[in-house]
């Protein structure tokens, strides 16, 4: 029973981390129909900013906030300077561009911060919670991770559903020309979409780093799972990203806990193929298939 509970809890935390990464992908896909392959190294860069601040003795949460703000600026600047020129061009241009950015940011991080492993302090405690005299496999830090991702999801849904700004962002994402005719500043909405996505991406980077070791490639292992989670969720919906992340997190945790850690990648692929066979557009999408 304890093993089951712990495996489930580990799956929950893992799923939330995938979800955060997938949320960031979804935000960009919604607003510009671009899959941002550079998201992981962007998050690596902003996490290093926080780590350097912490190592310099600045307050932990100040560094956390600065990393998120750095993400905001990085996302906005990228959209304006690099992505804008290829918007409306064939999709492959943007794909190649974000792959190029992936390489640039990753080598940039290696040059600036070096490749040696560095410790990133945890957000909160990393001891398992004690219930009676058993210690279960979830920590205060894990609670923070879960809470932060849920809060992000709730804020995003509220933004898109209940605010004028969210309505304009959705309009700009769905029909740029018509949105413009209705007075929506389409360019600004797209920039904002990228900026928000990069904030969420930075958050995922910080959550993964906290309590662990950081080097320029520390996000690599979750990138693939984050993409799979986003695609399972349908790429369109923030809720889909979280459901996709959780589905993947639980499955992988149980597979590695009860079967073998070697099978994890295979199972992830299996889940992806099953979902896409049953619902080609992903779980949370309108009926028509996705144009990728």
């Amino acid at each position: 029973m304890l093993q089951f509970t712990n495996t489930a809890l580990a799956g929950l935390v893992l799923g939330m981390i995938f979800a955060a990464f997938a949320l960031a992908l979804v935000l960009i896909w919604r607003s510009t129909r671009i899959l941002n392959f550079a998201q992981a190294p962007m998050a690596v860069l902003t996490t290093y900013i926080a780590l350097v601040m912490i190592e310099d003795g600045r307050p932990y949460w100040l560094a956390f906030v600065v990393a998120l703000l750095a993400g905001l600026v990085l996302g906005a600047v990228l959209e304006r300077v690099v992505i804008r020129p290829v918007e409306g061009k064939p999709d492959i241009n943007a794909v190649i561009l974000t792959l190029g950015l992936f390489i640039v940011f990753k080598s940039g991080a290696e040059v600036i911060f070096g490749t040696k492993l560095r410790t990133y302090p945890p957000t909160f405690g990393i001891r398992g919670i004690e219930i009676g005299d058993t210690t279960i496999g979830i920590t205060t830090s894990d609670f923070f991770t879960i809470g932060a991702v849920i809060a992000t999801l709730v804020l995003l849904v509220a933004l898109f559903r209940f605010t004028d700004l969210g309505l304009k962002m959705r309009a700009a994402a769905n029909n740029q020309e018509v949105a413009g005719l209705l007075g929506v500043k389409v360019g600004a909405m797209l920039t904002l979409g990228w900026a928000l996505a990069a904030v969420v991406g930075s958050l995922s980077g910080l959550l993964i780093a906290a309590g662990g070791l950081v080097q320029p490639s520390y996000m690599d292992s979750i990138v693939v799972f984050g993409f799979i989670a986003a695609v399972i969720g349908g790429l369109e919906s923030p809720a889909g990203a979280v459901v996709g992340g959780l589905l993947l997190g639980f499955s992988l945790s149980f597979v590695s806990g009860y079967l073998s850690a070697q099978l994890v990648a295979l199972v992830a692929l299996g889940i992806l193929m099953t979902v896409l066979t049953l619902r080609p557009g992903g779980l949370f999408t309108a009926t028509q298939g996705r144009r990728v």
């Binding site: 004028d164 309505l167 018509v178 413009g180």
Partner: protein, 233 residues
């Protein structure tokens, strides 16, 4: 009032408008007629700033708006309902309407109420996805959405396209009502010349990007030669 002077526009080597001059009088419906490819859509797109003119000028209520980008036009009182209607299908009916109202900063509840009373079918379907609407309902939605910005000038590109004659009549009557009661100015692009002239005060006929006739709707409708040559009825 909208004044267009010697407007020229094109697509690379193709010239779609050749020195078009016309006026849309305040509180009137001015119809722009002509065959497919005559340049009607290009004219509206150039007026509203979606397309750049190569020369000429556009003036709205006395101020020059020739180089003003499309997204600034609603705030200046110009609403353009594009060809193919431009319903945002992923949004609900009410979200589409609200979006129209945002051009004025905030959406006023009164404005929504007014649109729902002008178009009762929309009232019943407020919270459904706009994708589920019929052609007629979509046309009502985009006109309603444009009116949410409380424009002084409404540009309509082929609103009758694909609609049953009964619905076309209904929509044109409603436009007529708005023009007569509220002083709205309408520039109505139509291939369906017969219906358009029955509701318009004034008509302009375009052929290959040039104005070939500019007269009262009654005069145009009575001109057999013009009708046969350009209007197809």
């Amino acid at each position: 009032m909208l004044t267009i002077t010697e407007l020229t526009a094109g697509y690379g080597p193709i010239t779609a408008l050749r020195g078009v001059t016309l006026t849309a009088e305040q509180g009137r419906i001015t119809a722009v007629l002509g065959a497919n490819g005559a340049g009607k859509t290009t004219l509206l797109r150039t007026i509203s700033g979606l397309h750049r003119s190569t020369s000429g000028s556009v003036t709205l209520d006395g101020s020059t708006v020739t180089r003003v980008p499309a997204e600034k036009m609603p705030a200046l009182g110009m609403s353009h309902v594009p060809e193919g209607r431009g319903v945002i299908t992923e949004l609900t009916v009410e979200e589409n309407l609200r979006l129209g109202g945002l051009a004025r900063g905030r959406v006023k509840a009164d404005d929504l109420t007014r649109i729902y009373s002008l178009f009762p079918p929309l009232d019943e379907r407020r919270h459904v996805a706009a994708a589920t609407l019929s052609g007629g309902e979509r046309q009502m939605l985009v006109i309603g959405r444009a009116l949410m910005a409380r424009p002084t000038l409404l540009l309509l590109d082929e609103p009758s396209l694909g609609l049953a004659p009964r619905i076309v009549t209904q929509i044109f009557e409603l436009l007529k009502g708005l023009v007569d009661n509220e002083g709205l100015t309408v520039l109505l692009v139509e291939q369906n010349a017969r219906s358009a002239l029955s509701v318009a005060d004034h008509g302009i006929v375009l052929n290959l990007g040039q104005v070939v006739a500019d007269d009262s709707a009654a005069t145009l409708a009575a001109d057999d030669q013009l009708r046969h040559a350009y209007l197809g009825f």
